[in-house]
Amino acid sequence: MTITDTAPVPATRTAEGKPRRTRPARGGMLLGVLAWLIGILFVLPVLWMVLTSFHSEADAGTNPPAIAAPLTLQGYREFFGASTGTSPWPSLLNSITASVLSTVLVLLLAIPAAYALSIRPVRKWTDVLFFFLSTKMLPVVAGLLPIYLFAQKVHLLDNIWLLIVFYTSMNLPIAVWMMRSFLAEVPVEILEAAAVDGAGLIRTLRQVVAPVVMPGIAATSLICFIFSWNELLFARVLTATVAQTAPVFLTGFVTSQGLFLAKVCAAAVVVSLPVIIAGFAAQDKLVQGLSLGAVK
C-alpha cells in the first residue's frame, strides 16, 4: 500500500516532483536515508523482541547480546506451560471472547445509531454526535469503583460478560463516529430513487448500501477489537482467575523470575500477534478510528 492511496489527493499531486527535479538530488536522498534510519530505530525493539523469543534462555540473557545464537522454540514452549503447567490458553480464549463479542455488540448498537445520525438524521444530530464523543473523554478510571461495587453486589465479579458490556461502552463512541462518517458517503439520492422504483429493502441494502459500508464496518470492527484486546485496568480489577484476559496474564511477568527473557518475549509476541494482524489489515483506516473519525 502506498500513502497516496489513503487520502483524496488532488490531481496536482503528481506534478509535485517537477519543480524539485531542478535541485540537486543528493539532499533528497539523504532525507530518504534519514527516514529509513528512523523507521529502523522505531521497529528495532519489536524485531529484538521477536528474535529473543526464538533464543534459548541462556542466549537471551547474555551481555553483550548474542545476536547470531541458534534459534529454538523453547521460549514458546515455556510460555504455553511446558514446565510450569500454567497454560495461557484460558486467558487468551477470554480475550478472544471479550473482544469479539463486545465488537459484535458495538456494531449492533452503533450501525442503527449512525444511520439515525447520517442517512435519516434526527434533529440536532450533531449535538448527539458530540455527546457520544464527550463520553469517550471521561477518564474510565473515574467510573471504575461504582462498576466494581455494582458487580460485587450482583455477583458478576470475575465474569467475562461484565467486561464485554464495559468494552462495548468503551468502544461505542468511536464506532458511532466511524460508522457515521462511512454512512455519510452513501448516496441518499440513489436510496430515494430505489425506493421510488419499488426496490425492496433487502435489495437496496445489498446493492447500494453494502458496497459503500462493508469496508467501513470491517475497519470499525478491527479497531474496536484492538482496543478491547489491549485493555488492562478494568480487566485487572474486575476479573480474577476464571475470566482473566491475556493482558492480565501478562502482568504475571512484571517481576523478574531469573532467566525468563525468552519466555517473556514469546508471551509478548503471542499476545500482540492478533493486534498486529488486525492493525495492518486496518492500516489505512487506523487514523480515522484513533482520531474518532475527525481525520480521514
Binding site: M137, L138, P139, V141, L144, P146, P247, V287
Partner: protein, 320 residues
Amino acid sequence: MSVAAEETSRRQHAAEAARPDGALRRSSDWARRAPLLPALIFIIIVTQLPFLVTLVISFMNWNAYYPDEIGFAGFANFRRVFTDANMRDSVVTTIILTAAVVLVSLFLGLIIALLLDRKFMGRGAVRTMMITPFLVVPVAAALLWKHALYNPEYGLLNGAITALWRLFGSDNPPQPDWISQTPLISIEVALIWQWTPFMMLILLAGLQSRPLDVIEAARIDGAGTWQIFRYLTFPHLRQYLELGALLGSIYIVQNFDAVFVITSGGLGTANLPYTIYQTFYNAHDYGRASAAGVVVVLGTIIIATLALRTVSSLFREESR
C-alpha cells in the same frame, strides 16, 4: 456548524414536505429517533451513571475496612487529595508524564511525517515500520522495555553499550540501571516510542490534505522551502497538531499499563490513575479514590473541551 445544520434542515424539510400532518410528523420523528435510542441509553447507563455514583461517593466517608464508619464527609476527601503528599505528587507526576510524552512524540511525529510526505524508495515500508510500535499490546510493550531493553544485566541498551565499548578495546563499559536511576524518563521513553506513530499518522493525514495547488503557485512565485513550511504548511497543520496533542493528552492522562508494569508505581512514578487504583484496590478507601477520580475528570474536562472544539472545527471543514 452552520453548513451541517443547513444540511440537516434541508433533509428535514424534504421529509416534512412529504408528511404535512402534525401527528404523523411527530410519529415520524420518533421513527427517526428509534434506531438511536438503544446506543444512547446504553452509553448513558454504562458511562454516565457510574460517574454520578463516583461523585456521590466522593463526598462520603467510606472505607471497606471500616464498614461501621460510612457516612457523609463533606469536602474532607477532596481536602485530603490536595493535602496528602502522595496524592499531590501523583497529580504533579501525571502532568509531567503527560506533557513530556505528548510534546516529544508530537515533535518526533511531525519530523517523521514531513520525511514521509516526500517521495523516496521504500516509503510504504518505512511507514509500516513506523506504525508497528503502536500495534504492540501496551502491557507487552511495557514488559519489552522493562525486561528486554532496560534490564541492567541482560537488556539490549546495556548490551549495546558493552558491545560498543569492546569495539574500542574497553573492558569496563558503564552499565546504568536505567529504571532505578531515571524511573520517570524510562516510562516516558517507552510511551513516546508507542505514541510517536499515532502523532505521525494524524500529521501525515494533515499534510496530505494540504491544498497542493496553492503550494505549487507559491513555489512558482519563488517561495523557498522554509517559507512554504512557515506560511502555508504550518498554519494548515496547526489544527492537526492541536488534535494530536489533545487526543494524545486524553489517552496518556489515563495511562495505567506502563506505570503498572515498568515501576509498579514506585520511585515517584505513580500517576493519578495508578494512585486511584491503589487507593481503591489495595487501601479500600472508596471515598478518597472517588474524590481523586473526580479531580481527574475535572482536569480532563478542560482538555476535553478544547479537544471537542478542534474536532468540531475539523468536522465543519469536512462537511463543507
